[in-house]
Amino acid sequence: MSYEKIDEYMLDKYPKKVYRKRAKSVLPNDPAEPGEIQANVRTIPGIITQRGCTYAGCKGVILGPTRDIVNITHGPIGCGFYSWLTRRNQTRPESDKAENFIPYCFSTDMQDSNIVFGGEAKLKEAIQEAYDMFHPKAIAVFSTCPVGLIGDDVHAASKEMKAKFGDCNVFGFSCEGYKGVSQSAGHHIANNQIFKHVVGLDDTRSDSKFRVNLLGEYNIGGDGFVIDELFERCGIEIVSTFSGNSTIGAFENSHTADLNLIMCHRSINYVADMMEKKYGIPWLKVNFIGTEATSKSLRRLGEYFEDEELIAKIEAVIVEEEVKVKAELDLIKPNTKGKTTMLFVGASRAHHYQELFNELGMETLAAGYEFAHRDDYEGRRVIPNIKVDADSRNIEELHIEKDEAKYSQKLQDKKAALEAKGVEFSDYDGIMVEMEKGSLVIDDISHYEMEKLIDMYKPSIFCAGIKEKFAVQKMGIPLKQLHSYDYGGPYAGYKGAVNFYKDIDRMVNTKVWSLIKAPWATGAAMNASFVKVS
């Protein structure tokens, strides 16, 4: 089908204004010359979107995985309730006694009187109650929609309580749901506050040789654990992960790392940038989704640290693991080769998971993000050209200055030297250059577009989230959730890759999809009589 036809089939039903707007977010891909895609703009009301809100991005995504912060949602009960344990934030406390608040939902459960008379007093009382019961290292406060509107000052309240306690960091997030256009705003707000209130508080430097932060890895399904294990085998210390399996202590210490590695570019590139500005830590884009991507990312670490022993260890790990993966893949690939997929999810996942599908010999027919910006599609080179609109403008940009005491010129010098050798820092090329020519790229896909797309292409599998899962499956197409992994995983690293291969093999080859049609639907029955009337 030509692109025009697709466009027509998929978008023609829209009202004109909607059509015009949506058409800008739908592009046939040309990896050689990525076109300009509309992204990070307001969702069209009523269109039925995949997107969530700023609170979800802030409290759910970024702070959800931290285990030793008491995260209090300031608002009516719903926001806290829905973000309670629904994101599979796996964590591994240091001991049976160590703090782990992840299974808890804390909320001020605002009532109408709090809306009318203000909720700050209740918020402070709630913080006090949490402190009295749990004596946590930190308490974080998340604002929901009404909070901003009624003028509760969560930051002032937090500051006051922090001062009162003395031994407990308290800080707040103005992550009201209506801010920005998607979860992305929430990531930004979350990162800003963590950077402001936490990063840099602990200057202790462990004596390990290779010290990195892993940014934008949320340990869904245990991905982070797999990466941790790989790094450990190579002898690399992860100072902090933002924010899978994280602790407030690790955030406080994160500025002492020698390198930042970015997994999910969209949600976290701010932090890398700010840390580089303030502390001089360079950053590299990595990807541990996919066998090749994992090996490549590990090798980038070797390249960065320029240490023979490290490089040897990394190569040993790669050889050992790749052999195992290959053995599994050889069995599976014949079952999956030639099948097709579409990915509409998150920001980085729709990109990274194409690696795994490639390895399975599966073609990605279409992909797009739920809450990405243009740079996630077209690469960071377009950042200067991105128009800052009203919705972006009201998300605070921190003004960062060099911390003269803690800034590492040494790392910057190292970076410069490596750049001279051709190593690329602070770069991300986006999804488009890696997708096939003619495949479709669609930002913020609507439910309607999704159904049409499936109708047209009948992919072997579709990747999205829980809201899409059963509608797509009702169409007879298996849907792989790439937020929750359908409660499977891990999918990161070599071990994760094998898990993914197996799961996809199962999903595209299980017989259950063949059971859908009732045999009488063919019209074979009912053509006979009951008793022949003689």
């Binding site: 809100c53 299974p103 804390f106 749901g177």
Partner: protein, 456 residues
């Protein structure tokens, strides 16, 4: 321990809710809306609400949950959501062609004071609502009541919107089923069929939230109460409002608008609540309770008398929604069990009054801070033999090694609730089966070898 910070000592909290036994209004309104045929729910607020509610219902039913959102931005929050909503109407009618759009508000649109009925009128005036299409709208501020309140509010709006005033009352009844599962709604319809009583039921999520796999996604599944039925609800002889919290207001609205006599009953969950429902049905309609239902009743009693030794005296902790907890408590007491800790986040004095009469010696609480954390603390102080509630209970069940029956909303980690009812005698039979099953599984699991029983 999964819940390692839950401490034994119960101290009153005034501000902090921990592990709530409720959620917010809009999700209830969304669920109720899905019980109308051809209806597209719409969330007037930030898009996160809609996403959360759709996700919650989807996880519970493993079914598509379609809903629009007004996708508020900071601008709309300042200037009001009218333009977003009118745009949304236009887009939804154009693209998805619903017969009804059911708008519920959120804390956001409520706080800024959007008047949805006025906006809807404007949409109609502006020609954004096609001929013959309906907009029903409910005010569901998240900071009042709970998800149950939202369900009730949407039901009330439905009752105000569709039913037509009629002088002549006809020989049928209205059933307001309350927040029960599609399986329960289907079971209520089966019971009405057996009773030979014509009826209109709304909402009715059967055929919607339990839709078959057909290889085709029906954006509007074939279930749900149909508009003509909603209209004629005004000429019913009687309305059975099931559940004080979920259905009474809708019954009242129908009474006010169309003068349909009504009474509020417990959801027919368990033996006596079903007895009362059937007795009144029989009384109102003159239709006797038929043998088939009497047999189902007898089968239920049979299982209870046969198995009473495994039920008797067992202590229970439970949490959920008041309209379920009230008849459930009555039933569990009737079968010899001992509900000792009961919480619901949904406020309302009726709950504590009922509990005080049903289980005066139990710990019970509702409203703010009546949460699962408190119940867990109670359990630590007085252990129980059984836990009943939604999926969040699994953390307590695992920590405390308590047999666990999933019931209520949400159930995220097991299936069956959408297909197999718990209401009526058959439903109670299933409930008793489930209770016995987990209790007996524990006996088997913890039995020493010498005490391991083949026959039980």
């Amino acid at each position: 321990m999964l819940l390692r910070h839950t401490i034994d000592e119960v101290k009153e909290r005034k501000a902090l809710t921990i592990n709530p036994a409720k959620t917010c209004q809009p999700v209830g309104a969304m669920y109720a809306s899905l019980g109308l045929h051809g209806c597209l729910p719409h969330s007037h607020g930030s898009q996160g609400c809609c996403s959360y509610h759709r996700s919650a219902l989807t996880r519970h039913y493993k079914e598509p949950v379609m809903s629009g959102t007004s996708s508020f931005t900071e601008g709309s929050s300042v200037f009001g959501g009218q333009s977003n909503l009118i745009q949304a109407f236009n887009n939804m009618f154009t693209v998805y062609d619903p017969d009804i759009i059911a708008v519920h508000t959120t804390c956001l649109s409520e706080t800024i004071g959007d008047d949805v009925s006025q906006i809807a009128q404007k949409a109609i005036d502006d020609g954004k609502v096609p001929e013959g299409k309906y907009i029903v709208q409910a005010s569901t501020p998240s900071y009042v009541g709970s998800h149950v309140t939202g369900f009730a509010n949407m039901c009330t709006s439905i009752a105000k919107t569709f039913p037509e005033v009629s002088e002549d009352k006809l020989n049928f009844v209205n059933i307001l089923p309350g927040w029960v599962e599609p399986s329960d709604m289907k079971e209520l319809k089966r019971i009405m069929g057996i009773m030979h009583v014509p009826f209109v039921m709304f909402p009715d999520t059967s055929g919607v939230m339990d839709a078959p796999q057909t290889g085709k996604h029906n954006f509007f599944p074939k279930g749900g109460t149909k508009i003509p039925d909603l209209k004629r609800a005004g000429s019913a002889a009687y309305t059975f409002a099931l559940g004080k919290f979920c259905s009474e207001d809708a019954g009242l609205a129908l009474k006010k608008k169309c003068d349909v006599e009504f009474e509020t009953f417990d959801i027919p969950l368990g033996l006596k609540a079903t007895d009362r429902f059937l007795m009144k049905l029989s009384e109102v309609t003159g239709c006797p309770v038929p043998e088939e239902l009497e047999d189902e009743r007898g089968q239920l009693v049979d299982m209870i008398t046969d198995m009473e030794q495994y039920l008797y005296g067992k202590k229970i902790a439970m949490y959920g929604d008041p309209d379920n907890l009230i008849p459930l408590t009555e039933f569990l007491v009737d079968i010899g069990m001992k509900p000792v800790h009961i919480v619901t986040g949904t406020p309302g004095k009726y709950f504590t009054e009922k509990m005080a009469s049903l289980v005066p010696d139990a710990n019970f609480k509702n409203g703010p801070q009546a949460d699962m954390y408190l119940m867990h603390q109670w359990i630590k102080n007085e252990p129980v033999d059984l836990l009943i509630g939604n999926s969040y209970g699994k953390y307590i069940a695992k920590d405390e090694n308590i047999p666990f029956v999933r019931m209520g909303f949400p159930i995220y980690d097991r299936v069956g609730h959408s297909y197999f009812p718990l209401v009526g005698y058959r439903g109670a039979l299933r409930l008793v089966e489930k209770i016995l099953s987990v209790i007996m599984d524990k006996i088997d699991a913890e039995s020493t070898e010498e005490k391991f029983e083949l026959v039980m």
